[in-house]
């Protein structure tokens, strides 16, 4: 594999995580994110021959941080996120999911969908899914019943919802 191919492999492998990283640090400004990524990979391209590639990931993040700092100081105005943090519920009953009940159950046989999801998920994950979407329990109720910490319930539900979305997409196609 020649240098150019190797460089392309690196760009393809790291552009997605670095894009998210810069996007987060630059408060959702896509133009600035892409400008920063251009700078990052331009630096890497220039230094490619002399680069120690054993820990390229660390190097990429270091360059990204430097480029972010530079671009932040050059651009004084930033866009806010699409959704304000205040909109995220801080109560124990009105918690908002990014994936609503309606998404799962629109226009299809509910039992068929649930059966499909049950097959796709491990038993303990399906249990959480059923607490949330079948029995309509709040997050705090699930925390109390399972004894799991809030963060574990939240993270697992996020993962379960992604898997369930994929199953729903299959049903719709």
């Amino acid at each position: 594999m020649d240098d150019m191919q190797e460089y392309e492999v690196v760009v393809k492998a790291y552009s997605k995580p670095l894009y998210r990283y810069c996007y987060h640090k630059l408060c959702g400004d896509r133009c600035l994110t892409e400008e920063t990524l251009n700078d990052v990979f331009a630096v890497v391209y220039q230094k490619w021959d002399s680069l120690n590639k054993t820990n390229i990931r660390a190097y990429l993040y270091r360059v990204a941080d430097n480029c972010i700092k530079h671009n932040r100081s050059m651009h004084q105005k930033y866009y806010i996120h699409n959704r304000s943090l205040e909109e995220i519920s801080s109560t124990d009953s009105g918690d908002t999911l990014y994936c609503t009940d309606e998404y799962f159950l629109r226009d299809i046989d509910e039992d068929k969908a649930i059966e499909r999801i049950k097959v796709a998920l491990p038993p303990e994950d399906f249990k959480l899914f059923s607490f949330r979407y079948i029995h309509k329990k709040t997050l705090m109720q699930i925390v109390t019943e399972t004894g799991l910490p809030y963060s574990s319930v939240r993270l697992r539900l996020q993962r379960i919802e992604e898997a369930a979305k994929k199953e729903m997409a299959i049903i719709f196609t």
Partner: protein, 277 residues
């Protein structure tokens, strides 16, 4: 299988309970700032990437849409690079010859190094001990936990009754350190990393604190062509974006970097800085 992020958060919840998404976001931000405090080579990038994925989703952002943008960017970028490369490409045969040429100097350098090693031992130099000595001089880290406000305990078990005592022991008493944090802020831990040429001191705050970050590099320099403003006796470079107020300045050879959620908190902590005893 429990993910790294979940493991970290479960550990976190042993001392600080999370009961809603806002607190979860704060906890993840805190984990990310903990990673930020480490040297780049020591960060857990799998954890960082998992944390960012979760954080963006919790903030209600369409991560799939962000990923689509990143894919579009990648395709466009590589297309641009390839176009540029084709325009300036050398003949392949000539490039191969250039690569071959470097083998001979490389062999010469390696032979020289080998001879030098043999000569060093012949002169009685113990290279193994010297290497070990060098390894010992690698950056040392000291974690100071201030969960019990009356006591500061370092990783090696040293105890300090106050920030002043800690500053004296860590030889940073000439620097300005925060003695009192603004209302709504609390110190969770202090990370001191000794890089030899300089020390990096980071005050890591409880998530949701009005002071979100405070770090000192000593010795450190700060130069900027941008406009500075006066806060107390200090001329600082101030920046503001999306509700974050930041200040950077130099004092007695140390470089200070502070971020807060309000101008008042930023001003308060800068005005309240005092030297360690």
């Amino acid at each position: 299988m429990v993910s790294k992020l979940e493991q970290k958060l479960t550990q976190y919840e042993k001392s600080t309970k999370i009961s809603n998404d806002k607190e979860l976001i704060d906890a993840i931000e805190w984990l990310l700032s903990e990673q930020d405090a480490l040297p780049y080579e020591e960060r857990d990038y799998d954890l960082i990437e998992e944390a960012l994925d979760t954080l963006l989703r919790l903030q209600g952002l369409d991560v799939e849409d962000i990923d689509r943008s990143s894919l579009q960017w990648t395709v466009a970028y590589l297309d641009g690079v390839n176009t540029q490369k084709r325009a300036t490409l050398d003949k392949p045969a000539r490039r191969r010859r250039i690569k071959t040429k470097w083998i001979f100097p490389l062999v010469a350098v390696l032979t020289l190094l080998l001879s030098a090693t043999v000569a060093a031992y012949a002169y009685g130099l113990d290279l193994v001990s010297m290497t070990a000595d060098m390894i010992e001089r690698l950056p040392l880290k000291t974690w100071i936990h201030n969960n019990d406000k009356d006591l500061i305990v370092s990783q090696d078990g040293s105890e300090y009754a106050s920030l002043d005592e800690f500053a004296l022991a860590e030889d940073i008493s000439e620097l300005l350190i925060p003695k009192v944090f603004p209302e709504g802020s609390a110190l969770k831990s202090i990370l001191v990393t000794d890089f030899g040429e300089y020390k990096d001191i980071r005050f890591l705050m409880i998530p949701g604190s009005t002071i979100s970050s405070f770090s000192i590099q000593n010795p450190g320099k700060f130069e900027t062509e941008l406009e500075m403003v006066a806060i107390g006796n200090h001329h600082v470079y101030m920046y503001n974006y999306d509700g974050i107020y930041g200040a950077e300045f130099e004092f007695q050879g140390g470089f200070y970097s502070i971020e807060a959620s309000s101008y008042d908190a930023l001003e308060e902590i800068i005005l309240g800085l005092e030297k360690g005893e």
